[in-house]
Symmetry: C2
Subunit: 205 residues, 2 copies
């Protein structure tokens, strides 16, 4: 009995958590709050070719790279997954995730729904959390308020967001982002519960 560490509170393997949801739902705000609270995660930083937005920090919000740099990373197998979204490329660097997990650290990756679907396929033991808006109307409002979107762009994103809602079944958990603090507390509860699983989800990649 004593030889099984998991019975007596032995260390669980680290978790790979995917935070996803439709465009405009507030994934950045949630991750930002989790960072502010100092929650002990390795936060995955996505590589992108899109232009840096006002207020975004290179190396924290994204790694901003040229198209050529992106193509090199991709072709050298350095990306866990990659996608072209609205004409820009996005990718998840593989090595930092692998390294963090090997060090026993929990990892959280903010991914669009397409990226989350790919990673769930590659790493079935990843814990998928779908961040949902309180309503589709609310989601449209949030997209409208985004300074970066205008006219046609908005309609495309609103339509896409509606399609993205259909991906819900590939996720384990749904958290409604009505109140930021409450959403973060629910995510913390999910992590905490996952740490208590008798059969832990051990992510391998």
């Amino acid at each position: 009995m004593g030889s099984n560490p998991s019975i007596f509170g032995g260390r669980q393997p680290p978790l790979l958590v995917i935070l996803s949801g439709p465009s405009g739902v507030g994934k950045d705000a949630v991750i930002g709050r989790m960072r502010d609270l100092g929650l002990p995660f390795h936060y995955v930083v996505t590589v992108t070719t899109r232009a840096q937005r006002y207020g975004e920090v290179d190396g924290q919000d994204y790694y901003f790279v040229s198209l050529q740099e992106f193509v090199e990373l991709r072709d050298n197998g350095k990306l866990l997954e990659w996608a072209k979204v609205y004409g820009n490329y996005y990718g998840v660097p593989r090595d930092p995730v692998r390294k963090a997990l090997a060090e026993g650290r929990d990892v959280i990756a903010k991914l669009d729904v397409q990226g989350a679907t790919t990673v769930k396929r590659l790493v079935p033991m990843a814990i998928g959390i779908f961040l949902a808006p309180p309503s589709m109307e609310e989601l449209r409002n949030r997209l409208k308020q985004r300074k970066t979107e205008q006219g046609r762009d908005f309609e495309i994103r609103a339509l896409r967001a509606q399609e993205e809602m259909q991906a819900l079944p590939i996720f384990e958990y749904i958290v409604v982002n009505e109140d930021l603090d409450k959403a973060v507390a629910q995510i913390q509860a999910i992590i905490s519960a996952e740490k208590c699983r008798v059969v832990p989800r051990e992510a391998e990649l």
Copy 2:
């Protein structure tokens, strides 16, 4: 989309939670603390033929009944499960659980490992939480400190507790009861996470 209530924070079905673990691990203390905190559960009260211990309240800790009353309940199908343990009979009344779930209330049942095994077989969607001691030595110490156990009785219980540890795999979660507040917080996190499941565990009985 809007027709699916679960996406936008619609009410989840109520949960049936089983709290179990070896004799002496502190199940009563955990349930007591949850009650004190006013956590919104229907707390299942077990029927027993064993003698009332000092400080125990009839109808709260147990329903204390005669052997004849117990046999009548059992033979009329009024018990979800029953068992004979150390010469006494214990049973879980079915109707109050069914009624609470029908009213949309979460239900928590404190069960010995044998009872938990039976209920998990009858209601596979029940959420099994195994309360574990920090170590077997600590469990033996706790059993020793129980005023009600003496000499041989203690050895039987210690042996049984060790056997009961083997039942861990039938449970979904393990919570180590080293610190009462921490154990209760973990149980709360588990409940909270279960409420966020995309595919909820809907208990039927």
